[in-house]
């Protein structure tokens, strides 16, 4: 039997987890193909290899359907980051994360980082409805400005020309960022992690829209930056193990020789 060819070996693994129909595949599509398209329910799982500078990052998109639930822990095995995804318009999708999906992450790396991502923000939040620029740095600054603006102007009615009113539908938001942050705290506790030494909830809870691209690049790039230490550690380990440090050996040898003398 011929040796099955291996793909480029990924340096690190990210896994998207979450209930069905929260938009895991769409998030990945938006990030990798920069567009939003109709997806069908993911069967089993799929993965994408992202070249991030000199590193290969594999991003696994898992199936949310109950049917494939058993595979989740296998996908999570050895993961450096898990993106727990919910739908901001669906309270149950957040609850499912805690009930069904959190236990799947037991197989992840002990230093795995967890991000909570509320997708479909465009349905509840006018600021998430603006199409995002492709330039991520610009995005960040613009978003920042917008955010403060909306906070200040929150009392004012939405101006009629804004896309929010054009699209017509603004669904009831069922999950607030505070809910997500509270869950994040519980995740840390479940993992037995100290809240103070872990990444803060504000940094690890995102609201995104795969449809408009809102916050999507920020999410993935923030995570890539955070898993970089894992990548470096992986690389170091794979480099160190097969190498024999000659200096060390010689040093040890000398010691032995000396002790033998005396």
């Amino acid at each position: 039997m011929p040796e099955v060819s291996k793909m480029k070996k990924p340096d690190v693994k990210l896994v998207l987890l979450g209930d069905m129909n929260v938009g895991k595949t769409s998030l990945l599509h938006r990030y990798t193909e920069r567009k939003f398209k109709d997806t069908i329910s993911t069967v089993g799982g799929a993965f994408f290899l992202k070249q991030w500078g000199p590193y290969n990052i594999s991003i696994w998109d898992t199936a949310g359907r109950e049917q494939f639930h058993g595979l989740g822990s296998m996908y999570c095995r050895g993961a450096a980051a898990v993106i727990l995804t919910y739908d901001v318009t669906n309270w149950q999708s957040l609850a499912e994360l805690e009930e069904r999906f959190l236990s799947l992450t037991d197989t992840a790396n002990h230093n795995c980082i967890y991000a909570l991502v509320g997708n479909k923000a465009d349905l509840t939040d006018p600021k998430a409805q603006l199409p995002q620029d492709s330039d991520p740095s610009k995005d960040q600054t613009e978003c920042g400005v917008e955010r403060t603006d909306t906070q200040v102007l929150s009392a004012c009615p939405t101006p009629p020309a804004s896309p929010a009113s054009l699209s017509g539908i603004t669904l009831q938001k069922q999950v607030t960022p505070e809910d997500a942050m509270a869950l994040y705290g519980r995740i840390l506790r479940y993992k037995g992690l100290d809240e103070k030494s872990s990444l803060p909830a504000e940094k690890m809870c995102f609201e995104t829209s795969a449809k408009t691209g809102y916050n999507v690049d920020d999410l993935f790039e923030a995570l890539f930056d955070l898993v970089l230490p894992s990548i470096l550690r992986n690389r170091n380990e794979s480099q160190q193990s097969p190498t024999v440090d000659l200096e060390e050996c010689r040093g040890a040898g000398n010691k032995r020789a000396k002790s033998g003398c005396c």
């Binding site: 039997m1 011929p2 040796e3 099955v4 060819s5 291996k6 793909m7 069967v43 089993g44 799982g45 799929a46 993965f47 696994w60 199936a63 359907r65 049917q67 494939f68 058993g70 595979l71 822990s73 296998m74 996908y75 095995r77 050895g78 197989t107």
Partner: protein, 872 residues
């Protein structure tokens, strides 16, 4: 979908196996090289020889020849067969017993003396294809026992089996596969990986083995393919990690195998073929009563209950070509790149390049130029393949022929565009940008002429600005091919540039001249005439210059003369002999004048001939203007100013000759005066200025410039001469205006008093002049003379004092005191001195006077020496 990746080829037909015995079914198969073994439900093993036959059309068929069949005597179906070819044994599972039979005779191998060759109570076993134990004459086997929750590891030898390890499992296993130390097991409710050496285990995922038959298939080093819930084919490695995305089977998969890059799976009625590269379903083959799907040394064999088939993979290239034929570029590329490790490197590179090129052409046909370009670049496309799509772009002389088999389906661009002009235009624009980018890279190596010529043609046709840039820079455009093309699009200026680039300046000039003269139409370059002049100006071929300068001068002498005047002075350009140019310009008066001005005034060439010639031309111009009626005052003034300036400034022209030319012209008195001045006939000059012109200021100015480069004596002489002329009232013509002359004389004295010798002037002046009249002059003269007197007195005084000072210094230096005492001895007699009178020898050595006298008397030759310092 619908890639044709595999073909189902019958291997053993029903007749051959069982004839008309309807109840006999195939239970298991094994294939080892050409040997095909089959186990049936009636406890027979059949042995066939399977030969591959390739027809003349390249179609593969199998011919099976039955060698032997053997009844095993257990009346139960033969559940599994595995060949251990190194041992020449078949490992058989039948009726829960594993035992060995000879591969050739199919006889059961009797147990050896040392141990049994049978294992009882077996439900399933597997052979380790990647054993840790390196012994080639034994086979490692994983065995599942029917009763205990254990997996046993056996070593199979020629005539015995030996238990080497036993590991317990948490549940009863029902399927097993092994690689190295890793057992991959299907338990009742889940899959797991178990390291039989360390006992370490790793749960994979839950699976209900009661509902669906589990599949555990080793597909490579430490990697397994498993049937997962929901009809998935999951990949898992020995660490329990999935490195590939799962493939989506149906729920009722019976068997699966990997034939890279495909996963082949069998269910009740279909064979499904998924790509491991993109997880997509690529092919479905209908297959009824499917029973077994297994791969043997890369060969995928299927069996229904009655017949055996081989799933023959189509050659990879054919699959890729099929994909490309249906314009599935991405899939074709994924398939190609995925196959990289299964193809020798050099062969892969050739294949990969070709696929990239084909992919590029498909995208090109779809006007996806960005993608097409990228694929052309990666595939290192011979750019002429692309050029050749465009009719007539490749030079007639190009040796290029399209690659065979063709990289694309297009005859040419017309075929591709189907008459859509917009499409055509976009393709052309793409080629322009593409060629522009590649022409300076290694892509164009070996076909630069073809590339540049094609680019030139496109530029010309599309009226593109870069045409001129192309031609003005280093290029390899073929002249023969480009000429008709440029002519067709009236790019005559560009054509001229091309001629020039090919060192055919004459042709270039002829063409451009025809454009300027209006014979040809090309508005590319405004100011083409000036361009031609510039061109001739720096043209190193003097014959061409002589040939076309006439035309240029006739067109516009003032600009045309730039050919001669603006010629850069450097080594690259052959220097033009001025004399030749002057002779040449003889018939172009104006140009000649400009050229001489250039030589004399700008380049300041010191040659009498040019200066005289220029002066004569100026003079002729003035004379001709003078003869005109009515006079054009303005022109005349300007012409005269020029003449005068030259006459004054230059010292090289032949003044006498010019003087002769204007001797009779009473209007050019000033010029004549200047000429006289040049000849140092100052009296004549001043005479003209004073008496004829009565232009006293010019007379004064004359004195100033005529003496400007001389000493003050000459200047004084000149001013005195002028004064004399003023005062010489005897001249009859001047009698009337003697008052004026006197005034002029007074003014002259008062203005330029300093240059005159006042004493001489006073002697010359008439007695009658009042002191008052000359007061400024006299005042200045007296002051000057006083000043001079005092200055010289001071100078004398200073000189005297300086002299004294020097004398003092000298004495001080020389005459140091010479001490004489009674204690000092004379150097000559060595007696002491008794009186102050001594003689000093050179060096201030005192001696007695008498001693010196004595010495002088004794040696007369030394008299000189003593004499010289004979004083105290």
């Amino acid at each position: 979908m619908s890639v044709k990746a595999f073909e189902l080829v019958p291997a053993v037909e029903r007749d051959l196996l069982m004839g008309d015995k309807a109840r006999i079914n195939i239970e298991c198969i094994e294939c080892c090289g050409k040997h095909l073994y089959m186990g049936t439900n009636d406890c027979f093993i059949h042995h066939f020889l399977l030969d591959e036959v390739t027809s003349s059309k390249g179609k593969l068929t199998y011919s099976a020849q039955k060698l032997l069949h053997k009844y095993l005597g257990l009346k139960k179906p033969v559940a599994e067969l595995r060949a251990a070819s190194a041992l020449e044994r078949l490992i058989v599972l039948c009726d829960g017993i594993v035992f060995l039979v000879d591969m050739v005779t199919l006889e059961t191998v009797p147990s050896a003396a040392g141990g049994g060759a049978k294992i009882r109570g077996v439900t399933a076993f597997c052979v380790n294809e990647n054993p840790v134990n390196g012994d080639p004459f034994c086979v490692e086997m994983g065995v599942i026992s029917s009763k205990r929750r254990t997996v046993q590891i056996y070593m199979v030898y020629e005539d015995r089996v030996q238990l080497v390890k036993e590991v317990t499992t948490p549940e009863q296993p029902c399927a097993v596969s092994v690689d190295g130390y890793f057992l991959c097991l299907a338990l009742a409710t889940q899959y797991m990986i178990l390291n039989y050496n360390t006992g370490a285990s790793q749960d994979l995922f839950p699976y209900n083995s009661e509902d669906r038959r589990p599949i555990v298939k080793r597909i490579g080093r430490e990697e397994f393919l498993l049937a997962a819930p929901g009809g998935l084919g999951m990949f898992a490695n020995a660490e329990g990690v999935s490195q590939r995305a799962p493939v989506n089977w149906s729920e009722s998969v019976i068997g699966a195998a990997v034939s890279f890059p495909y996963v082949v799976a069998l269910d009740e009625s279909f064979i499904t073929i998924h790509s491991m590269l993109d997880q997509q379903l690529k092919q479905t083959l209908s297959f009824r009563d499917g029973h077994i799907l297994q791969d043997f040394e890369g060969k995928v064999i299927l069996a229904s209950t009655k017949a055996v088939y081989v799933l023959v993979p189509l050659p990879l290239e054919r699959q890729i070509q099929d994909l490309l034929a249906s314009h599935r570029v991405e899939e074709a590329l994924i398939l190609t790149e995925g196959a990289q490790q299964n193809i020798p490197k050099d062969k892969f590179q050739i294949l990969h390049k070709r696929i990239l090129q084909q992919a590029g052409f498909i995208q090109f046909g779809q006007l996806q130029f960005l993608e097409a370009k990228e694929h052309f670049r990666k595939g290192q496309l011979d750019v002429r393949e692309l050029i050749s799509l465009y009719p007539l772009l490749l030079p007639a002389s190009s040796s290029f022929t399209r690659c065979h088999p063709p990289l694309h389906e297009f005859a040419d661009l017309n075929h591709l565009a189907q008459g859509d002009q917009e499409k055509m235009l976009r393709c052309k624009k793409f080629l322009i940008s593409y060629l522009g980018e590649v022409r300076s890279t290694e892509v164009a190596n070996g076909c630069r002429e073809d590339v540049d010529t094609a680019l030139l043609k496109l530029y010309a046709e599309q009226d593109h600005d870069s045409l001129l840039d192309l031609l003005a820079s280093d290029n390899a455009c073929l002249l023969a091919d480009s000429v008709p093309w440029l002519e067709k699009y009236h790019k005559y200026f560009a054509l001229g540039l091309l001629y020039h680039y090919n060192s055919q300046d004459s042709a270039a000039l002829q063409l451009w001249i025809r454009v300027v003269d209006g014979d040809l139409q090309d508005s590319t370059r405004s100011g083409l005439y000036e361009y031609i002049v510039d061109f001739l100006c720096s043209c190193s071929n003097l014959d061409l210059v002589w040939k076309y300068a006439d035309w240029a001068l006739a067109k516009d002498p003032t600009i045309g003369v730039h050919i001669f005047t603006k010629r850069p002075v450097c080594k690259d350009v052959t220097d033009l002999n001025p004399e030749d140019a002057i002779t040449y310009l003889g018939k172009h008066n104006q140009a000649l004048l400009l050229y001489l001005e250039h030589l004399v005034l700008e380049r300041k060439i010191k040659k009498e001939k040019f200066h005289t010639h220029l002066a004569v031309l100026y003079l002729e111009r003035v004379l001709s203007l003078l003869s005109e009626v009515p006079n054009n005052e303005e022109c005349l003034t300007r012409a005269r100013e020029r003449l005068q300036a030259l006459l004054r400034v230059s010292n090289l022209y032949r003044a006498q000759f010019l003087l002769g030319k204007m001797e009779n012209c009473e209007q050019l008195l000033l010029e004549r005066a200047t000429l006289h001045g040049k000849l140092e006939e100052n009296d004549k000059a001043l005479h003209i200025l004073v008496h004829k012109l009565k232009d006293f200021s010019s007379a004064e100015a004359f004195c100033v410039w005529a003496s400007s480069s001389r000493d003050s004596g000459y200047q004084q002489q000149l001013f005195h001469l002028l004064l004399e002329v003023y005062l010489d009232g005897n001249l009859p013509q001047a009698a009337a205006g003697s008052g004026d002359l006197e005034m002029a004389a007074v003014d002259l004295l008062n203005r330029h008093g300093e240059v005159f010798d006042a004493a001489r002037v006073l002697r010359m002046l008439p007695e009658s002049w009042s002191l008052q009249l000359l007061r400024p002059f006299l005042g200045r003269a007296i002051r000057a003379s006083m000043h001079a007197c005092r200055t010289s007195q001071i100078a004398v005084g200073l000189a005297q004092s300086e002299n004294l000072q020097l004398l003092h210094d000298r004495l001080k230096d020389r005459k140091k005191p010479i001490f004489v005492s009674e204690k000092k001895g004379c150097h000559l007699c060595h007696n002491t001195f008794s009186e102050p009178d001594v003689v000093c020898l050179p060096g201030g050595v005192p001696v007695h006077t008498h001693c010196v006298a004595q010495r002088v008397r004794d040696s007369p030759t030394k008299r000189q020496l003593t004499n010289s310092s004979n004083h105290t």
